[in-house]
Amino acid sequence: MEQVMSTINLSAIYPEIILTCFSLLILLMQSFSTPRFKEYYGYVSLVGVLAALAFVVMEPSSFFAQTVVYSFNDMWVVDNYARFFKLIFLLGTGLTILISMKYLEDEAMQYGEYFALILFATIGMMIMASAGELITLFLGLELMSLSLYVLAGYTRVRMVSNEAALKYFILGSFATGFLLYGIALIYGSTGTTSIRAVAASVGKYGLYSPGLVMGMAMLVVAFGFKAALVPFHMWTPDVYEGAPAPITAFMSAGPKAAAFAAFARVFMEGLPALQMEWTWLIWIMAALTMTIGNVIALVQDNIKRMLAYSSIAHAGYVLVAFLAAGELGISSVLYYLLTYTFMNIGAFAIITALSGRGEPRVFVRDYQGLGFQHPFAAVAMSLFLFSLAGIPPTGGFMGKFYIFSAAVKEGYIGLAVIGVVNSVVSVYYYLRVTVAMYMEEPSSVREAEAAAPIFSPALVIAIFISAYGVLSLGLFPSSYVAIVKQSFLALQ
């Protein structure tokens, strides 16, 4: 693989620069324009996302050229691994913007800050994926987290939204403290904060100090919080329930993937020498995350809360692949996160459409009889739920297939068995919604008071893109696998 070295290469951060310009533009539009402009914030941010997408693929060299570009004295890495994650983030952001526009209009909260904050959070995630240095990683993580704290409390007249923001803020900053202390201990043990230099230092001196191991453990705690892994998952259900539905969709896809991106880069690239130390730790966390997420999801009535526990369980599956490491393991992490972005945002698009102003209709019983009243929405929702449950021919099935085959190949057979049992358990609560949609009559009282679901053109486009993604990842996985494998090679 060719490596291009230079101290400062601005073209390496063109996508981030473009997104920053667009988010500032939206803030300016908000400040100086007439109220009539407020319908255009969403479209402007979509243009920004598409422009950034083009630059992620093309700059500073083409995705297929397989070059690794270091910039800003190794603080910034652009390799295919980072590029693939940036594609996932931008995809999640684009879909979120599409499902947000009508929602904000209904809630009468069409402010530019919303879209600007979503773009800022995306920039933070992209910085995390490209960070070659622990300081850069920290700044990216904070840019993402601070934007998300505000977005979780965006519908500020709703108490439950405020509560979500406060809980997310307190536990998120708490995790940040652990991240920083971990970085400080690693810095003290190795004398550097550059991820590659840490690896070199650990490899060269065979350094095995208590400080380094402590630092690693602190980083596991911090990333565990950000990716919602058991036992650091307590905030997830409350925050996902309280946040506005499109923001819940956004949080469950991008930031989670960003946490895994940084997690894998720090541990695979920076601390591979300590693999013996973290393998058993992550084994236990993966088993707990899958099991607890699925078991608690069984008894949830609120569908947002159910999907929050389901997202914890899915993080557990990704952790299994993470543990398997190697080419197949990391490739299946990437494949699964891409699939998860499509299927989860798709499901949340339907939830957004049905929830109604102020989100009163977010319970499983509100989905009774949907299959007869709104066949299109019910079919799409079933597709996303089947994919989440891992039923063929959807992307969720292929993703789980790759994960468990990677785990078996690397000898984690016990973990693979726990994972398969868990995905069987999960079928129950996903199908419960489908059963409600097709086999139960809506109760007449609720039907009378229910407002018709709102399907704006943008929302329908988002559902179609997600459905296409879920089906094509399930039916034609080979082309995606080829891209994913190229992205993995970059991490070596």
């Binding site: 108490m159 920083l180 400080a184």
Partner: protein, 100 residues
Amino acid sequence: MVSLNSYLILGAMLFSIGAVGVFTQRNALIIYMCIELMLNAVNLTLVAFSRFLNNLDGHVFVFMIMTVAAAEAAVGLSIIISLFRNKPTVNVDDINLSKG
């Protein structure tokens, strides 16, 4: 000259006090102060390491942490204020709509 270990132990103690405080305190503002204490314990640790390693990276990092902590304070306090407008309390035990 004060040894590196003294600084590290002080840093670890401050960090632990902060971490324990987050779980034992009930007032959202005091919880936030505990988090700030954790961040400052990290700053102390970083500066001590930086001084004893003769390496400036740690000093630079401390400036970044202080800047981010300031931004975090702005966001955190405004979240607490917007919550206070809906329900005049800062006690986290009273903030319990989501359960299950």
